[in-house]
């Protein structure tokens, strides 16, 4: 259960600034969906929060600056699921999830009985026990994705950052992965920031959406406000119609251009 405040976060690669003063505040247990076209700065924002790209600005977790905490304390507060995780083919599922316990192991130490029990528990809750002894190279994309999420959960971090967690998955596995995060958020009060391409899914799972365009937030708020046909046309350059279900779900439907010889 942790809140996170980001103020004026900027990221530059060389001379190009790719994120301009991002500011947002998430209360504990909130899910913020980041949307926007490729290159909008979504991944850079997430990478800046976990500290793997240099950035300017302030990030507070539970009211105190993240930058002042130790490396391992930061890792225990914020878990990160990268867009393209690097999974060593020959590592077993259990070994991989065990890496998530690293923030709690001292420099020269090794994992304790508690760490092993924790990993066993995560594998069980995510129904991954069968993959504990399997090598990562033999698993399917969906299975690997769930193991990456399992590794993030094994850190017991209250804040979870997901960079395109479902882009490599089919629609069934997309839903499965997102339902998993939603359930864990519900059970453990996780605060989630996720970058997502699928606008309908982003609106469906997030409490709020922030639409990024060329490094700046151009629209922010509930899905019904952000996902509007003219807004999406302006920033994505797409032709869509937006449909509102009776239960409040916002569905974004792509439309074809009408060519002259189409009948």
């Amino acid at each position: 259960m942790s809140s996170i405040d980001v103020r004026g976060l900027s990221v530059r690669y060389g001379r190009t600034e790719v994120l301009h003063g991002f500011t947002d505040s998430l209360r504990s247990g909130e899910w913020l969906g980041l949307i926007g076209p490729n290159g909008a700065g979504k991944s850079s924002l997430l990478r800046a929060i976990v500290g793997i790209v240099p950035s300017a600005g302030e990030i507070d977790v539970d009211g105190s600056p993240l930058a002042l905490r130790s490396r391992s304390r930061r890792a225990a507060l914020v878990a990160y699921v990268p867009q393209e995780p690097l999974l060593p083919d020959d590592m077993t599922g259990a070994e991989y999830v065990m890496l998530g316990r690293s923030p709690y192991v001292s420099y020269f130490g090794s994992e304790s009985r508690h760490d092993r029990a924790m990993v066993a528990d995560v594998l069980e809750r995510l129904e991954l026990v069968g993959f504990a002894d399997r090598r990562l190279g033999t698993l399917s994309g969906g299975e690997r994705q769930r193991l990456v999420i399992a590794r993030a959960l094994a850190t017991e971090a209250p804040i979870l950052l997901l960079d395109e967690p479902t882009s490599a998955l089919d629609i069934g596995h997309q839903q499965q992965a997102l339902e998993l995060v939603a359930r864990l958020r519900h059970d453990h009060g996780l605060t989630v920031i996720s970058a997502m391409h699928d606008l309908t899914l982003a609106g469906l799972y997030s409490d709020r959406l922030a639409l990024l365009h060329e490094g700046s937030v151009v629209a922010s708020g509930p899905a019904a406000e952000v996902l509007q046909a003219d807004t999406l046309a302006e920033f994505y350059g797409v032709r869509v119609s937006v449909h509102h279900e009776p239960d409040g779900t916002v569905v974004v439907i792509p439309r074809r251009e009408h060519l002259a010889d189409d009948h």
Partner: protein, 361 residues
């Protein structure tokens, strides 16, 4: 949160890889192999007692054991003063090169890296060449041969230059720049060495036999000189084996898991280089051990560095002790250099590895 003991059990080390020979069985097996190699190494050689008497003589020396081996004191001297230091030095060198190779492969996430990558061997070669060309006649009657010391210093200097050059262009962070800096510095140092040899062609033969591996002249003094470096270096490397496993997911992800990536890389490179420089300075350049042994271990016991590092040490020791045996017998009395034997065995093995693409990362 409930903890199910049943699954905690399956995660205990050694149980996780039930499909293979249990991982915990490999280390005792490797240590037995080292013992067998030591005994074999002491048994075989051009002069000395009949081979089957040697184990008896060794057993006789153990406390509380008395065996009539029929080995004379003079013969025992051959075993203890000539063969034993050679066998132990081979074991020490083999184990150091293997653990250094495995560690380098870990920090650079590159399975084809060997411990000489950053210039340790080239530097040692240059150091030895300088001693032979510039000051051989002047130092001939010194009580201590300066060649190993100069080789050691030159090896460390070369690697330092590589590190400074690589770090200046961001190499510590990515590792790739550091590898490229190693290639550049190695060529430069080799060029200087070639130039010196060209100018002093009368010592080429001496320099080459020095560089190609000289376990044959090993004494207890060599063992004593090199052992502290190897023990310190191996201890530091073994203490970082969990970090090497973490680095397998890449610098960025390791960072988000709380690993001090740049520091781990620096410490591991320093430790591996110090040990490599020390063994190169007493034994010359022994190729392929640092690549072949870690890959062999990966194939049989898996790729986790927790098992890879200790097993590489044990198998590396056994490999080099055994590889040293044919060299003594084949071209008796003029010996085949150990570097030639390891490359002769190692290169085909390496080609097969590449062919089957069984090189796991």
């Amino acid at each position: 949160m409930t903890v199910t003991n049943q699954y905690a059990e399956t995660l205990l080390p050694g149980r996780a890889r039930a499909v293979r020979w249990p991982a915990s069985a490999w280390l005792p097996a490797a240590l037995v192999l080292v013992m067998v190699a030591v005994v074999l190494g002491a048994m075989i050689g051009p002069a000395g007692p009949t081979w089957w008497r040697v184990p008896l003589a060794m057993a006789d020396r153990l406390p509380l054991v008395s065996v009539d081996s029929g080995v004379t004191d003079a013969e025992w001297n051959i075993i203890w003063q000539i063969r034993m230091p050679r066998v132990l030095l081979a074991g020490i060198v083999g184990s150091m090169l293997s653990i250094a190779g495995a560690s380098y492969q870990g920090v650079f996430r590159n399975p084809l890296v060997d411990p000489y990558l950053l210039g340790a061997a080239a530097g040692a070669g240059l150091g030895a060449t300088i001693v032979f060309t510039v000051a051989r006649s002047a130092t001939a009657d010194w009580p201590v041969d300066p060649a190993p010391t100069v080789a050691f210093a030159a090896a460390l200097m070369t690697v330092s230059v590589t590190y400074v050059v690589g770090a200046a262009f961001g190499g510590v962070k990515s590792g790739v720049t550091l590898v490229l800096a190693g290639v550049a510095v190695t060529s430069l140092v080799t060029a200087i060495q070639t130039f010196l040899l060209q100018r002093n062609s009368e010592v080429i033969r001496e320099v080459y036999s020095w560089i190609l591996g000289r376990l044959s002249t090993a004494t207890w003094g060599d063992v004593r000189v090199v052992l502290p470096y190897v023990v310190a270096s191996s201890a530091v490397l073994l203490m970082h084996r969990r970090h090497l496993d973490l680095l397998r997911v890449g610098d960025d992800e390791a960072t988000t898991l709380g690993a001090p990536v740049a520091r781990v890389r620096l410490v591991v490179v320093i430790a591996a280089t110090l040990g490599t420089a020390a063994v190169v300075s007493v034994s010359g350049l022994i190729g392929f051990v640092g690549i072949v042994v870690p890959h062999l271990v990966r194939l049989i016991a898996g790729t986790s560095y927790r098992r890879l590092l200790p097993l590489s040490m044990a198998f590396g020791a056994a490999f080099l002790i055994l590889a040293d045996i044919p060299g003594r017998v084949l071209t008796n009395p003029a010996e085949t250099p150990i570097g030639v034997v390891t490359a002769f065995l190692g290169a085909p093995f390496f080609i097969v590895l590449l062919r089957t693409r069984a090189v796991p990362r």
